[in-house]
Symmetry: C2
């Protein structure tokens, strides 16, 4: 592995000159430049990032820590993030906290040791689980979920509005007994979506039955068992709002396994679709997030911070959901059968 010294020796110049050529950081006469370039090519010199970073105190690394890599929603974020990170000239270090606060803690420490220039974090813990020092010294953008009281930039969606839109749609179809299967209540996403749904019902003088509101892990299996339980009872809801795409798959599976039909027997709406579910039948009625836009925006904010073109102290960007009507919901009156 050739070093800058080898190049300098071969080209008959100092290492400073080689560095100047590499980084275009000072004028170098055409002759010298040519000699250096030749030497670089012949020796196949590639600068050592370790050395450069030690000196510059930069790493060219951006960390992305997502909550659950098995969830296509996050897989989609990873995809967008990789592209954005590369476009900004960084490399992506990927972590999966698997919805476990302890794992997340280890990840944060690892990100620090790696000297990542910045990180995009989908936080998994409750607000009070974070120590302020876990964030200082490293540019941070929170994605999708926020941490109350934290001073990092955030990019989120309007969860409350998402819940409201989905519930309004179901209400417009005439449903009155609407249930919800949502994620862990300490997460801003779960809580916001549920609150939005309750808002929408309250606006029409309604409230969900207590037994029709259930929360659990953001996973297919969790949703499956909760749904089986809720749907098995005689006073089951006529429509259900599921807080995320993976859970919606679980719910549909539960419905099918109980011998119920969707949408004839039960209407299902959700928030956050799962990639590749284009083939899911019936197609889910859901509110969608502009995942790629959100991710790009998160990285723009992050790079802004890293490169210190900082404007305001804390920036929060909220994306609005859009309702996509599929085939998983029907008007109530036709539910008689």
């Amino acid at each position: 592995m050739a070093t800058i010294k080898d190049v300098a020796r071969k080209a008959g110049v100092s290492t400073a000159t080689v560095s100047a050529v590499m980084n275009d950081t000072a004028f170098v006469s055409p002759e010298l430049r040519a000699r250096v370039v030749t030497a670089i090519r012949e020796l196949r010199y590639e600068p050592s990032l370790a050395a450069r970073n030690l000196r510059r105190n930069r790493s060219q690394l951006i960390a992305l820590a997502v909550a659950d890599l098995s969830n296509p929603f996050y897989a989609r974020i990873v995809w967008s993030a990789e592209a954005a990170v590369a476009a900004w000239g960084y490399s992506l270090v990927l972590f999966n906290s698997d919805e476990k606060p302890d794992t997340e803690r280890r990840i944060l420490s690892r990100i620090r040791t790696l000297g990542c220039d910045g990180m995009v974090l989908v936080p998994v813990g409750a607000a009070n689980q974070y120590q302020p020092h876990e964030f200082d010294g490293i540019a941070t953008v929170l994605l999708g979920r926020s941490i109350e009281g934290n001073s990092a930039d955030t990019v989120t969606i309007d969860n409350r509005e998402a819940g409201r839109q989905a519930a309004d749609y179901l209400l417009d179809l005439g449903h009155r007994r609407i249930g919800s299967i949502t994620g862990p209540m300490q997460l801003s996403t779960s809580k916001g979506r549920l609150d939005g749904m309750i808002d929408a019902m309250a606006a029409r003088g309604l409230a969900p039955q207590p037994g029709h509101i259930r929360s659990g892990e953001f996973r297919e299996e969790a949703a499956y068992s909760v749904a089986r339980d809720m749907m098995g009872s005689p006073d089951r809801p006529t429509a259900i709002y599921v807080a995320n795409g993976v859970m919606a798959i679980g719910v549909m599976r539960a419905v099918a396994d109980l011998g119920l039909r969707c949408p004839q027997d039960i209407s299902i709406a959700s928030t956050d679709t799962v990639a590749g579910a284009g083939g899911l039948k019936p197609r889910l009625t859901r509110t969608e997030h502009p995942i790629a836009d959100m991710t790009n925006e998160a990285l723009r904010l992050l790079v802004d911070r890293i490169e210190e073109r900082v404007s305001e102290p804390v920036r929060s960007i909220v994306f609005q959901p859009a309702l996509i009507v599929g085939e998983s919901c029907m008007p109530l009156r036709e539910n008689a059968g």
Copy 2:
């Protein structure tokens, strides 16, 4: 950000001692050790990987370069790889070559500059596009696809067997006019799967019609248009073998858009299912790969190399596919309608 010197000063010892404590690399008396540990805790010292790596010439980084991050198949690999990499004490740097050899070339160079200790590569180019020097000095495992003549360890599936299994299944159902939509022919995966299918047909004295064999990019859109074209013609095949899961979705969409029904009008089988397609209706008949096992195995081989517990010169592990019967195929005689 505290450095080792700060810790040494605070604990009243030399940096060498701090280093010894950190790495447990020499005996340190209990008293000193205690002082050092306290100082480390109080200063919240975390060693700089950049400095350590410069010195040790290691980076604790493993690169994963996949061919197409938008493909759930690779998303699944990413998921498994992140877990395996973390379990071995490394961090994962993720790249997406997007099936573009040029991008892949840039990635290889980047991996080199980053000083990654090793890489897992899903190669996208033809064998002759690789220069030997792009691989030397960095431990490499090729995953899923191989490069002829390359001396890296490989973990692949038996593509030929996968094609054979799928085709045999269709043949057993009585199909004779079987077509195939496959990926780029310079890739070992595409070629192997097609060869397997041809093998199976040849074993029964059959051969596919030339117009029934089409290749294109490993993407949904590509498959969609090729399928529309092939299915539109009057002598269309009665069954079709699609070389990958994402393409299968495109084919199913094309079939539906042409007003054809699957499996009544056409049987579809594929290799490599897409995660989350559990909800796809009808469920795809396909050969599946043990993705997690393959990925784990790839990382085991890689870490072996990195940590120089090398056994044989080159190791190749081939996984066998398994046929999973869904609902997307029917016996030929019932195709009359």
